[in-house]
Chain length 192, copies 2
């Protein structure tokens, strides 16, 4: 029994290594540089080993996305709980979201830009993704305003944040005005 357990543990370790390495590689050189060959070489195994853990590159991206979602949820909750009052909480949340996207562009891409083969807004949505949305909902729900469904409001606020994050990083929006845009967003959308 102990032998089998050890093997399973080693397998799980290696799987974590694959995901961590893929994330690191993507963060340093972009997802284009994350080829199965390079990734295999980095973890000092051959290509087919990757396919014994994941069905394909998509699933690896998906795994990075799930890790990222867990991290983002924690970052959002930490930022919100450190602020006092609904208004300050929402501002802190928005800043934390944009900050996470800016600091972890590859992870953010894995979550929302690339195809990681993940389901969304459905019953079989993975837990970390639902939890990240829940983290948004916790803070945003209280500023949705009367008669406005909290979930719908959160979706809208999230979409705005997502748009700001992606357009800024793609060079579509001048980065120096990020703070002003964030404040304007909170001012207008949140009912305090």
């Amino acid at each position: 029994m102990s032998v089998q357990e050890r093997k399973e543990r080693e397998r799980a370790d290696r799987e974590r290594l694959i995901v961590a390495t893929a994330r690191e590689l993507a963060e340093q050189q972009g997802w284009d540089a994350v080829t199965t060959r390079r990734l295999a070489e980095c973890i000092e195994y051959s290509q087919p080993v990757l396919y014994s853990h994941f069905h394909g590159k998509r699933e690896i991206i998906g795994a990075v996305a799930l890790d990222g979602a867990t991290e983002m949820a924690a970052a959002l909750r930490a930022a919100a709980s450190a602020a006092n009052g609904p208004r300050a909480r929402v501002t802190a949340l928005a800043r934390a979201y944009l900050d996470f996207a800016a600091r972890n562009p590859a992870v953010y891409d894995a979550m929302f830009q690339l195809d990681g083969g993940l389901a969304f807004a459905k019953a079989d949505t993975p837990e970390p993704l639902k939890d990240a949305f829940a983290a948004l909902l916790e803070t945003l729900g209280e500023v949705a305003g009367d008669g406005v469904h909290p979930g719908l409001f959160t979706e809208l606020f999230w979409a705005a944040l997502h748009g700001l994050a992606t357009l800024t990083r793609a060079g579509r929006l001048p980065p120096e005005d990020t703070e002003r845009r964030t404040e304007l967003l909170v001012d207008r959308l949140a009912v305090v």
Copy 2:
């Protein structure tokens, strides 16, 4: 002289054919299906011909994006001018934007999701892109509110629309609530 003119005309025609075919192919089967080989076969020429018109696949995507920007600008202006009053104009604009993105997903991707090698928010930004932003600004500028820079407000509104468009199409947001989100967006952001 006439011979040379004819050749140039034929070359321009073929270039338009390439862009139109790439767009059509992308719209029907997705950008992944737009390979240089398939594209070459569709226009009934060999691969290298593509490279005598464009420096690479990126430039072809960029050309589709520019076409799309021109179209989108026209669609936005048409929608806005058909509505009466600032509030109705903004609503019509938002609907037209989301509608364009939903009806032309491949073109929208070329404009904002894929790398078409285009410059943004800079001096050398191509005219169609600046014009599309200008089309947004024309309608949104009048509802920015006192003391709020119209450009900044337009950037924020645009980001929100972009977020809604991309998240909806990626299956991250339930499509059936699009209209309600749009109304909420206009209600909150626009000062009328």
